[in-house]
């Protein structure tokens, strides 16, 4: 189809204002929050911003007929390049689809459009005493569609699981524009393959998510936040490990090492106790104040045995918010320490956490690089950040080796390449190593079945 006709068609479908083709707009939709270079820009030819599932369906049908690549996009807060339109074509931005369609209090479920921001969803549910637990650190700006597409995890995964654990059903527009509904409100459902799970975490390569049905749980009545300081990561890890073993399950347990700690302290006027080289932020929840106090005491006991230097309970909501802000701002604060950062996202069995932290320390030494580590100690998911200056050729070389070594270390202790950020572009080279040839072949077969022309988010995952 000639380009002008295509443009006109698209404008007819989504409205004049919602097809962007100016240079600056194309550039604006060429990147996400990953560590890929900004230039050369991977610009889409067009940005299309539909409002309804019918619009999405018609855009896809058109793209399918013309063989045009389509890259779905939420808020572009992804860390692995998922929404970067590698092969041009259409950047399909779903951030205008922002309605919370239904809060079904009786069944404790909520139906939302994909562009709803995670925090807005959380707040809307909380207002009715319902709890949507997954809370990636990007929850203020990431979309629920992006969360489902990446199967995002959050701080509270240790107790409440990740996005997948809440997705009950989806509406998905397939590559050719057909509209598929999966799952539903029935808790037990084994009718056919589990397509809901298949699309969850599919990184925009199998279909465009246009509606999400999520399960909710009752909102915990009380919540408390603690900040624990330790001399080093070993002590911090040991504390979390012992807590879990003694069946104290925090709703979150976030750990950060000395470099990460300093990075946030700089921004937030935090005073650190002398000798602190590791900070653990713990959230607990429960029915009432007494239940929290009980948990604080038990945690205090465990922490003391592991050499805790400082034990602080947030006094009020403002203090809790401040502690969380420290954690949520961490990723960016660490990034600002060096011209470039390659932030990784490996996940290991819980008990291997200290071991993999040790191995990363050794890798940093071997390649003479600064690699601060922070992560979700409670669930074994950690984010080593290789800080570097990629303009320095010698260093860039060492960085690549270090990243390889980090993935090797993760796999060696029984872990995996990504806990929550997905494969996208940045982890593609390691996929075969993690899944094996048969694993990759199976994924490709599914892809070929659903998107025979390969127009959906080409260049991602494999």
């Amino acid at each position: 189809m000639p380009v002008t006709t295509l443009l006109d068609e698209l404008r007819l479908i989504v409205g004049q204002d919602h097809v962007l083709d100016g240079e600056v707009d194309r550039f604006g939709y060429s990147y996400d929050s990953s560590f890929l270079p900004l230039v050369p820009a991977r610009k889409p030819d067009l940005v299309v911003r539909p409002r309804t599932v019918q619009e999405v369906s018609r855009v896809m049908a058109l793209a399918h007929a013309a063989g045009i690549p389509v890259t779905p996009r939420g808020a572009a807060s992804g860390r692995t390049g998922g929404s970067v339109p590698l092969e041009g074509g259409i950047s399909l931005a779903l951030d205008r689809m922002t309605d919370i369609l239904e809060v079904d209090e009786a069944n404790m479920m909520v139906t939302v459009e994909p562009g709803v921001r995670t925090m807005d969803l959380h707040d809307a549910c909380a207002a009715r005493g319902l709890f949507y637990p997954p809370d990636p650190a990007s929850w203020k700006f990431s979309t629920i569609g992006g969360n489902v597409a990446e199967n995002a995890g959050g701080m509270r995964a240790v107790k409440y699981g990740v996005t997948r654990d809440y997705v009950m059903g989806l509406q998905v527009v397939l590559a050719d524009g057909a509209i598929l509904e999966t799952g539903g409100k029935a808790i037990k459902n084994v009718t056919g393959y589990d397509l809901t799970s298949l699309f969850t975490g599919s990184e925009g390569t199998l279909g465009v998510i246009t509606k999400v049905l999520l399960r909710l749980i009752p909102l915990p009545k009380q919540r408390g936040v603690l900040r624990l300081m330790f001399a080093d990561m070993e002590d911090g890890c040991a504390t979390v490990h012992r807590m879990l073993k003694e069946d104290i399950v925090p709703s979150a347990a976030e750990i950060m090492d000395d470099v990460s700690l300093e990075a946030v302290a700089r921004h937030r006027k935090m005073t650190l106790p002398a000798g602190a080289g590791c900070c653990v932020i713990i959230e607990v929840d429960g029915e009432d104040a007494a239940s929290l106090d009980g948990q604080y005491e038990r945690i205090r006991h465990v922490a003391a045995a592991c050499g805790c230097l400082e034990f602080k309970v947030a006094k009020d909501k403002a203090e809790s918010d401040e502690l969380w802000a420290v954690r949520r701002g961490l990723s960016s604060a660490v990034a600002s320490l060096a011209p470039n950062r390659l932030g990784e996202d490996i996940s290991v069995p819980r008990d291997a956490f200290p071991e993999v932290v040790r191995r990363i320390g050794a890798i940093a030494k071997k390649f003479d690089l600064l690699i601060p580590v922070f992560g979700h100690a409670g669930d074994g998911n950690l984010h080593p950040s290789v800080l570097c200056d990629m303009a320095d050729a010698g260093q860039a070389e060492r960085v690549h080796h270090a990243v390889d070594a980090i993935f090797e270390a993760a796999l060696a202790v029984g872990g995996t390449l990504t806990g929550e950020h997905g494969i996208g572009i940045t982890k593609r080279p390691y996929l075969a190593q993690a899944l094996g040839e048969t694993g990759v072949r199976t994924l490709k077969a599914i892809k070929a079945g659903l998107d025979p022309k390969g127009i959906l988010n080409p260049g991602k995952i494999w």
């Binding site: 100016g22 600056v24 900004l38 050369p40 572009a76 990007s138 700006f141 960016s332």
Partner: protein, 403 residues
């Protein structure tokens, strides 16, 4: 690479493209495409510097579509100063285009000339006396005039280069206090300026030298040399004063920062530093002097934080404290979100500015306040419009008029 472009690139180097700023940018709220956001603007600055984007009409449009309100920098985990970067990029584009556009040159010339500003005040005064001008300056004045005149409060705190340090000035009744009258107050709100003088006079001796523009509009629109000239004039003019008090948030912010522009200038460095150190915002001065309202009125106030006051000078508490003493005070939602005036922004992008303002209006209305108070003539113009739009549900006034 052009030095300014390099500076812009360095300013945004800390941007992690995370997206936090998408949630606070008032412009992204009304036009939710990437280029409106701070993240988008940072990427543009980098794209220009790294050769991924060519400067053109699109780029120019995007970097000018910014209120320079600094809400982004305030919430950014890395404190990336998008606004400062945008000022650099604007200057680069202006230089490449061979100087500021005719409009800004004209504006610069008007504000540069004391005579013209004075004349403006006179002509407005005459109109007012004839009853042709309502309190709302934009209403009945000839269309052309306010377009030139509304330029007191350009640019956000960016133009200032970070929050101003708190003045170490010594206060006391014996201090020689001078009132710095900004062009906006002179042109648009002579009554409020008078009220300020009365407040100051009540606390001791006060002089009111015939000062020129603070230079912020020039700085914000690529006329750096004029800015420096004006600064020197002001430094010299106020040399005898112990304190320089202003009732314009933009002037205050600009003046407090003059020192930083003369750091490398051996001739002016010390004089500029001495000058900046004695500048105070009216509210800051009053609170530090322990000012008491003569009477408490049965009125409800809410306060709109001018960007130049709250983020430019870190002043949040003082106006509230004064208003709490003068009547009932209710805080509004998003009180520190830019009102959309932002210098010439509302002229260049009337639709977006109107949408930003509409949000402000509904936040003001939600408080049920009788009066929305502010401390910057630029904001006051916008808020007066808001008051009109609300059909008289509230009034807009300068803080000097209500305490």
């Amino acid at each position: 690479m052009n030095d300014l472009l390099k500076e812009a690139k360095d300013l945004v180097a800390g941007c992690d493209r995370c997206g936090t700023c998408l949630t606070v940018c008032p412009l992204f709220k009304v036009r939710d495409v990437e280029r409106s956001s701070a993240r988008g603007k940072n990427a543009i600055a980098r794209g220009l510097a790294e050769g991924g984007l060519e400067p053109g009409a699109g780029v120019r449009g995007a970097v000018e579509f910014c209120l320079l309100c600094r809400a982004c920098a305030d919430s950014c985990p890395n404190k990336v100063a998008t606004d400062e970067a945008m000022i650099r990029v604007r200057q680069v584009l202006t230089d490449r285009a061979g100087g500021p556009t005719a409009k800004y040159r004209l504006v610069g010339a008007v504000l540069r000339s004391r005579a013209l500003v004075g004349l403006g005040a006179l002509s407005l005064g005459a109109l007012r006396r004839l009853g042709l001008l309502r309190f709302l300056p934009s209403a009945l004045v000839p269309k052309e005039f306010p377009r030139k005149a509304f330029l007191a409060a350009f640019a956000g705190p960016a133009a200032l280069g970070g929050e101003a340090p708190v003045s170490p000035a010594q206060l006391g009744t014996h201090a020689r206090v001078a009132y710095f009258q900004g062009c906006g107050m002179k042109l648009m709100f002579p009554d409020a300026a008078e009220a300020t003088l009365k407040l100051l006079g009540g606390l001791g001796e006060v002089t009111s030298p015939d000062n020129p523009c603070c230079g912020l509009p020039h700085l914000a629109h690529g006329m750096g040399a004029t800015f420096l000239d004006l600064a020197k004039e002001n430094i010299a003019l106020f040399e005898d004063a112990d304190l320089v008090v202003t009732d314009c948030a933009s002037c205050g912010g600009a003046l407090k920062h003059l020192a930083s522009h003369f750091r490398e200038d051996p001739l002016w460095r010390d004089r500029a530093a001495a000058f900046s150190a004695k500048v105070l915002d009216l509210t800051e001065y009053l609170v530090r002097m322990g000012y008491q309202s003569p009477e408490r009125r049965d009125r409800t106030y809410t306060f709109h934080d001018p960007c130049h006051l709250v983020r430019g000078q870190g002043i949040r508490r003082q106006p509230r404290q004064l208003l709490e003493a003068a009547g009932t005070f209710v805080d509004m939602r998003e009180s520190d979100a830019c009102c959309g005036g932002a210098g010439t922004f509302h002229m260049d992008h009337p639709e977006a500015a109107a949408q930003v303002l509409a949000r402000k209006t509904s936040n003001i209305e939600a408080t049920g306040a009788d009066v929305v108070v502010t401390a910057c003539p630029g904001c006051l113009i916008q808020l007066t419009r808001a008051a009109e739009a609300s059909g008289g549900r509230f009034k807009a006034m300068h803080i000097s008029q209500v305490i």
